[in-house]
């Protein structure tokens, strides 16, 4: 279930990209792993707790997101945007994976934390402390995101751009700039997620493929373009996966995502919890 929180945060980021720019960002999980590697590297070089690296990675990723959107995504022709964005972000994911392997080699890495094996007694079950921290971080980020979108002017501009770009432009919102910031926001969530991940997970360059499958399944099941939908789907599927892990084993339990994906496609291609953007795109 704790994993579900992380899934929800990541799926929210993905939905942002799709909602704003109709971009399917396959490289999201690659950035996730990049953030995890940066946290690990930070800890290795300085010995300080990796959570501190958030101070640097979040703004860095935000900037990267804005730059990516302005330089790369906006070059794609609008007619074939979604399709080409898949290929382009796929290429970016490959580049990131290659770069990680190049600089850090393919050896699996894990941050040795003094509190790695500590656990708390929670309602009779032993819950590892690191998983709690990761969940807390993800939940906090989601709450902040929600507050940002609902109550700030920037958030309102963002939502307007998502729901009706032309109308937004008419009202005077600089949709291009907002789109750039939205993209940056999405990548910033990847930075948070990645750092949370680095606390308890073993990372290696090709790990992002492990995440992209479930994430894609979540946004399809949740319905594209709906952040609450994605969050609900993430929690549901995350819980389902955890429940199935004991009887079926971790590898087979992962298939729950793919089964849900194919089932959604067969019966309700626009997703189950869809927002106003839910469509067969």
């Amino acid at each position: 279930m704790l994993l579900g929180g992380l899934y929800a945060l990541l799926a929210a980021g993905l939905t942002l990209y799709f909602g704003i720019m109709r971009v399917v960002m396959i490289a999201h999980s690659a950035f996730l792993i990049l953030a995890a590697y940066l946290a690990w590297w930070f800890n290795r070089e300085t010995g300080i707790d990796p959570l501190v690296s958030l101070i640097v990675t979040v703004p860095l990723f935000f900037l990267t997101g804005v730059v990516m959107q302005r330089l790369l995504i906006s070059r794609l022709k609008p007619l074939t945007l979604t399709m080409m964005s898949v290929l382009l972000t796929f290429a970016v994911a490959l580049i990131i994976e290659g770069a990680l392997g190049f600089f850090f080699t393919g050896t699996q890495r894990r941050i040795p934390l003094p509190y790695a094996s500590a656990s708390l007694d929670f309602l009779g079950a032993q819950v590892p402390v690191v998983k709690l921290i990761a969940f807390g971080l993800a939940a906090l980020a989601l709450v902040l995101l929600f507050v940002l979108l609902k109550y700030t002017r920037f958030g309102q501009a963002l939502r307007a751009t998502i729901q009706h770009p032309e109308a937004a432009r008419l009202v005077g919102i600089n949709t291009d700039r907002v789109a750039g910031y939205g993209f940056g926001l999405g990548l910033a969530t990847a930075a948070i997620g990645g750092t949370a991940l680095s606390l308890d997970a073993t990372i290696y360059p090709s790990l992002h493929w492990h995440w992209i499958g479930p994430l894609m399944a979540i946004i399809v099941v949740g319905g594209l373009g709906s952040i609450p939908g994605a969050a609900i789907a993430a929690l549901l599927l995350g819980i389902a996966q955890s429940l199935l892990q004991l009887p079926l084993g971790p590898t087979w339990a992962q298939t729950v995502f793919y089964i849900a994906l194919f089932a959604t496609l067969m019966f309700r291609p626009q997703g189950f919890f869809g927002g106003r953007l839910a469509q067969r795109f």
Binding site: M83, L94, M216, F281
Partner: protein, 372 residues
């Protein structure tokens, strides 16, 4: 009968294409034929020219890539549906062949054909689910498919050998390794030739035109009466068939199957890259792409082997192709050289062609009506 005579031009960005110049065609045709003959001769004599068996084995790998990307192009080139997870069929064909040999004791090549047919059949329900969505969703689904295949084949140890992999018995036991490479080189050439011929036939057929109309504007095609769902599924099946044939032949040649390699997203992206690079509309486009990328890959692996550089290179290349040359390398180079501006984007060229075809069809239909 639905009216196809609405002559409104399809809303596009630039001007329609210039009419064909028939007088040039006969000479160009002979030149083309000559080129094909020379090319074929080069390929067929490669085993003799190759200085050592290692180069020969690299040649087999490139041929394998050519078969895979041409097979992929049945789907991607004609219908415009880009599948990034096509390696799933590669792996299924390979494992299918191996499992049939192992459990049913079938002779190697019989198992190969049967496995490929089985995979094409499996592609039907998969395609049915996958093709319910368009464009980018389809790409996502294809990725999900290959990932789940990877999971299944890694975990189902009793049947597939799990991560340990599966050993495929040699179809020609006792044959020396260089000879083995040579035989399979020719087998791959044969497979490639068959797939090229089938592609060419479809390209010129009405079925092919219908598929291309799906690529241009699926809703319009549907409203024009094209049975899009059925045709897309057929194209998907054909593509799965050829890729599975490639996979099975690879299994017979290589001998050791490993799920991480057989169901690899990287192989899937190579297929796409090769076809896009060479040009998805050309018969020989994927083959060209396969040669270019395959040679580049081998070179990179030998020179920079102990880094992940080839991943970075693939990514950069794919990015460049997507951003600047979505039609493939040949048109891009050509337009740089000749500065012909009447082909700025994929769309209106074939839209113009589509108009022609429609006109021709109406003309034929009305001629038929008149004469009946």
């Amino acid at each position: 009968m639905p009216s196809v005579s609405s002559r409104e031009p399809i809303a596009t960005e630039t001007v329609v294409v210039a009419p064909p110049a028939p007088r040039k065609r006969p000479a160009a045709k002979w030149v083309k034929l000559a080129l094909i003959v020379v090319g074929a001769a080069l390929i067929l004599s490669f085993p003799t020219i190759a200085p050592n068996p290692y180069i020969l084995s690299a040649g087999v790998v490139i041929l394998n890539y050519a078969v895979l990307s041409t097979g992929w192009n049945f789907m991607g080139g004609f219908t415009g549906y880009i599948s990034l997870g096509h390696a799933a069929f590669f792996g299924l064909g390979a494992y299918g062949t191996a499992l049939l040999i192992k459990y049913l004791a079938l002779p190697g090549f019989v198992a190969w054909i049967i496995a490929a047919v089985l995979v094409a059949l499996i592609a039907i329900p998969i395609g049915f689910a996958a093709l319910r969505v368009r464009g980018a969703s389809f790409v996502i689904v294809s990725i999900a498919f290959v990932l789940i295949m990877l999971l299944v084949f890694q975990s189902w140890r009793e049947v597939t050998g799990g991560s340990e992999g599966l050993v495929v018995p040699r179809p020609f036991p006792g044959m020396l390794r260089p000879e083995h490479h040579r035989v399979f080189f020719y087998l791959f050439v044969l497979l490639l030739a068959v797939s090229l011929v089938v592609w060419w036939i479809i390209d010129r057929s009405k079925f092919g035109t219908a598929l291309k109309s799906i690529r241009e504007d699926e809703d319009k095609a549907q409203s024009l009466g094209v049975p899009t769902d059925r045709y897309k599924l057929i194209a998907y099946m054909l593509s799965a068939l050829f890729v599975a044939l490639g996979g099975g032949l690879y299994a017979l040649w290589f001998g050791d199957l490993d799920p991480i390699f057989q169901f690899s997203i990287l192989i899937g992206s190579y297929m796409v890259l090769m076809a896009l690079l060479g040009g998805v509309r050309n018969l020989f486009g994927p083959l060209l792409g396969a040669v270019v990328v395959g040679v580049a890959l081998e070179y990179f692996k030998l020179e920079f082997g102990d880094t992940q550089f080839h991943l970075i290179a693939t990514g950069i290349l794919l990015g460049i192709v997507v951003l600047f040359m979505p039609d493939g390398i040949i048109p891009a180079v050509k337009s740089l050289l000749t500065r012909s501006s009447n082909e700025a984007s994929i769309r209106e060229v074939t839209a113009g062609e589509l108009l022609e075809q429609n006109d021709k069809r109406t003309a034929d239909a009305s001629t038929q009506e008149r004469s009946s």
